[in-house]
């Protein structure tokens, strides 16, 4: 190795240390406060989307489609309204339960259980997104587009894709977030400082995403 190489590798080593310095320098307790704050801000985003939805539903001149008909599924020869959404909602609510279990075991420092419950939560989340993909492709095959649909007001499709898409993005990010934290838990990353706050912070985010879904469900599918 020439001296230049050594100088470089030293530099890049320091570079990495500089970048990760915050993790060594600061503890996590502020993290929870920051997540809460973010969620309140995010609430404003979803509220604006929903207000926009309520408003265009009033201003549009075409009749609003009946969600129970649009979101029906043919299963075993029966036409079941809203069945897919019901299952999706059930899956997401269940995942909130498994997340709560993960937080509980984090208090006991039960690494293994924390890992598994977070992994299951992520699995449920991924299932939810998968079913959403199915729902989207079904509607698209029926001719629903952001700019129009065969059932009535064009805003129906616009709002549907925008709001469920934005929520689905949140769930997908949440799944990635869960998997990252879960694998770090398993590797014992948080044992170094005996600080499992991050599990709770992830949980906050996840419960929030579930809660938002309840509102979307109520405002969009049931009405």
């Amino acid at each position: 190795m020439s001296s230049l190489d050594i100088a470089e590798s030293k530099n890049s080593q320091e570079f990495v240390e500089d970048w990760s310095a915050d993790k060594q320098t600061y503890h996590v307790p502020w993290g929870k406060a920051m997540m809460w704050l973010f969620l309140v801000s995010d609430t404003f985003i979803f509220t604006c989307f929903l207000v926009g939805y309520l408003n265009v539903r009033r201003t549009t001149t075409d009749p609003w489609p009946y969600p129970s008909e649009v979101f029906a599924l043919e299963l075993f020869g029966h036409n079941l309204p809203l069945i897919l959404i019901a299952i999706m909602t059930f899956v997401l609510i269940t995942s909130s339960g498994t997340m709560a279990m993960a937080v509980r075991y984090a208090h006991f420092r039960d690494k293994k259980k924390v890992f598994w419950f977070m992994a299951i939560t992520a699995f449920f989340g991924a299932t939810f997104v998968g079913m959403q993909v199915f729902e989207w492709s079904k509607l698209i095959s029926e001719g629903v587009r952001p700019w129009g649909n065969p059932f009535g007001a064009p805003q129906f499709g616009s709002i549907f894709f925008m709001v469920t898409g934005f929520h689905g993005l949140h769930v997908s990010i949440g799944v990635i977030y869960l998997l990252i934290v879960a694998s770090k838990v398993r590797r014992g990353h948080y044992d170094k400082k005996d600080n499992y706050e991050i599990v709770e912070i992830t949980g906050l985010y996840w419960h929030f995403v579930d809660l938002v879904w309840v509102f979307i469900f109520a405002f969009f599918y049931l009405w």
Partner: protein, 589 residues
């Protein structure tokens, strides 16, 4: 899991080693602050040049033929948006917020420095996207800084293709950048204050920035959502904001959307935005006034509550921008009412500033001049706001130069006065050098008198009914010849003020290069940022031990004390008294 407050945590500062981590990809709040401020001022200069071009056209129509009507609209739009969002918001929160929060509350840095660094890089990205729109086919958007649909995205409006898309994308990225920084500012103020620094001992600068950031976290989502929805209207052909209509002789593909919805969303962001700019200015100016008047700030608690009250109220006044848009008359009544209520806490603040000066031992330094200039321009702009807040008075004045004069006084000139006051005030700490007092005074008097020469006559133009956002006035019965002469005079003043800003830049660069070495505490101030072990403060701010705070930041001219100020971190038993036998008695703060 035992919780250790940040101020009590053992030090594990890791000082950056390489040039890149120290000055470019830096996580140090002071470096990020300077990056933010530098970028903001650079785009601010672009906006200033655009305003000069507009004034050339307005003052001397048919002379500068290289300015086409479409370009005029693009200048108006970019000027307005850059000034409000990319200059003032970024400078006050990203610049001063970053620099002052950790120093004034006695922290080593923001709580999440990495996110803070990302915030700057996203801000830079948003600026680059915005600047890119000057170079795309069709140019930047000319929809007005309010970007009202339908015209913002229909053919015929300048920049209705790529220009508006880049504007919306840039705004969305800006909101992301702001959120990353904003979460840091608020959490740092809440969680990372040093021992003894209670909320009610924080300097008002921190209070102003803190509340303004909270406003931003709640208001910017509305801008984000409207940007997303409008870009879907443009790109995907949805009809959120677009009604069925005929444009350029053709029926458009849209139907059933609501343009008024956009206006509500925009102003739900837009009005708090005014206070996102104003509240930090209120805070900073309070500190400058108190320090240079050698008087404690009058009614500190009242000042804090006024900031909080104004912040809260600013969310329920937005529709006063929509009196002419078509609204239920009861709405008009409601929003006029709330608008006038906001005047009460605002007036309290103005009285308190004036009372702070009362019987003070005023030192007419450059920052003090700018701070006092702010009081003038702010009272001025505030009073015309009372007129415009009333529906019946607003109707004839809406969209005239009276409005242009009003908002420039209240949210253009006034915050800029504070920007200069704050830059001159903190420059010795930031750079370790003194600025040139004489150049500073030339800068102040030229700017202060010049802005009056620009904006006072505009009120009169407004009364005449001269409309805003017009490329040329043409020949109309109701606009007399004198209005044209006035316009020419205004333009001369505007070009003068614009060019004069060079003095400011000369002063800054000259002082950085060859300025006198600054005293660590040149203004005899009390707050923590002046009491750092090094000037300029080093990474980590405080050396080995965090400061301990014993009192508020406004202990000036206390009776019996030898010096006319008592720093926040001086233990009570070390305070020197005029009469050595006497014991220092702590005030109640």
């Amino acid at each position: 899991m035992s919780y250790v407050p940040i101020a009590d945590q053992p030090d594990e500062m890791h000082d950056p080693q390489t040039f890149i981590t120290k000055y470019i990809w830096s996580q140090d709040h002071k470096v990020i602050a300077i990056q933010y401020a530098g970028t903001a001022i650079a785009v601010g200069v672009v906006a200033l040049v655009l305003s000069g071009l507009m004034r050339l056209q307005l003052g001397f129509p048919d002379t500068f033929t290289f300015i086409e009507p479409a370009e005029y609209y693009q200048y108006v739009t970019m000027h307005g948006m850059i000034m409000v969002v990319y200059l003032l918001t970024a400078l006050f929160l990203g610049g001063f917020g970053n620099y002052l929060i950790p120093l004034q509350i006695g922290a080593r840095d923001m709580v999440f420095p990495f996110l803070n660094m990302l915030s700057y890089w996203f801000y830079l990205l948003s600026v680059l996207i915005l600047m890119a729109s000057f170079f795309v086919p069709g140019g930047p958007t000319g929809a007005g800084w309010t970007l009202y649909p339908p015209q913002a995205i229909t053919e015929g409006t300048p920049g209705a293709g790529a220009g508006i898309m880049l504007m919306l994308a840039s705004l969305a990225v800006f909101v992301v950048a702001f959120t990353m920084g904003g979460l840091n500012y608020v959490t740092t103020v809440l969680q990372a204050r040093t021992r003894g620094m209670t909320l009610m001992r924080m300097p008002l600068s921190v209070w102003g920035i803190f509340v303004a950031t909270i406003l931003g976290l709640f208001a910017f989502p509305a801008l984000f959502v409207s940007a997303v929805m409008m870009s879907f209207d443009k790109l995907l052909g949805t009809s959120f904001f677009m009604p069925a209509m005929i444009s350029l002789g053709e029926v458009v593909d849209y139907r059933g959307g609501s343009p008024i919805l956009f206006q509500h969303l925009f102003w739900f962001f837009g009005h708090p935005e005014v206070y996102i700019v104003a509240l930090p200015a209120f805070g900073l100016v309070s500190d400058v006034l108190s320090t240079h008047a050698r008087r404690n700030i009058f009614g500190y608690r009242m000042m804090v509550w006024a900031i909080v009250a104004i912040g809260g109220l600013s969310f329920i006044v937005w529709a006063h921008h929509m009196y002419v848009s078509g609204m239920n008359p009861y709405f008009g009544f409601f929003f006029a009412f709330t608008t006038l209520i906001i005047a009460i806490p605002t007036a309290i603040k103005v009285y308190n500033w004036v009372l702070t000066l009362w019987q003070g031992n005023i030192r007419l330094t450059v920052p003090m001049l700018f701070a006092m200039g702010f009081i003038f321009t702010f009272i001025h702009g505030g009073l015309t706001g009372l007129f415009l807040g009333n529906v019946t008075i607003d109707l004839p004045l809406s969209d005239t130069y009276f409005v242009v004069a009003h908002f420039h006084m209240v949210m253009g000139v006034s915050p800029v006065m504070v920007v200069f006051a704050a830059i001159y005030h903190w420059f010795p700490k930031i750079s370790g050098k003194m600025f040139d007092e004489r150049l500073g005074k030339i800068h102040f008097w030229g700017t202060f008198l010049g802005t009056y020469a620009i904006y006072l006559p505009m009120h009169y133009l407004g009364f005449l009914g001269v409309p805003r956002r017009y490329f040329a006035l043409g020949t109309t019965d109701f606009i007399p010849q004198s209005a044209f002469e006035l316009n020419a005079a205004i333009s001369v003043a505007a070009i003068f003020v614009g060019v004069l800003q060079i003095v400011f830049f000369i002063n800054i660069f000259k002082s950085l290069w060859s300025g006198k070495k600054a005293d660590p505490n040149p203004w005899d101030a009390t707050s923590l940022e002046w009491l750092t072990p090094d000037t300029p403060p080093r990474h980590g701010n405080w050396g080995h031990e965090l400061p301990t705070v014993y009192r508020w930041a406004y202990e000036y001219g206390s009776p019996g004390v030898k010096e006319d100020f008592v720093p926040q971190n001086l233990p009570p038993n070390e305070v020197q008294m005029e009469n050595p036998g006497e014991k220092y008695k702590e005030s109640e703060h």
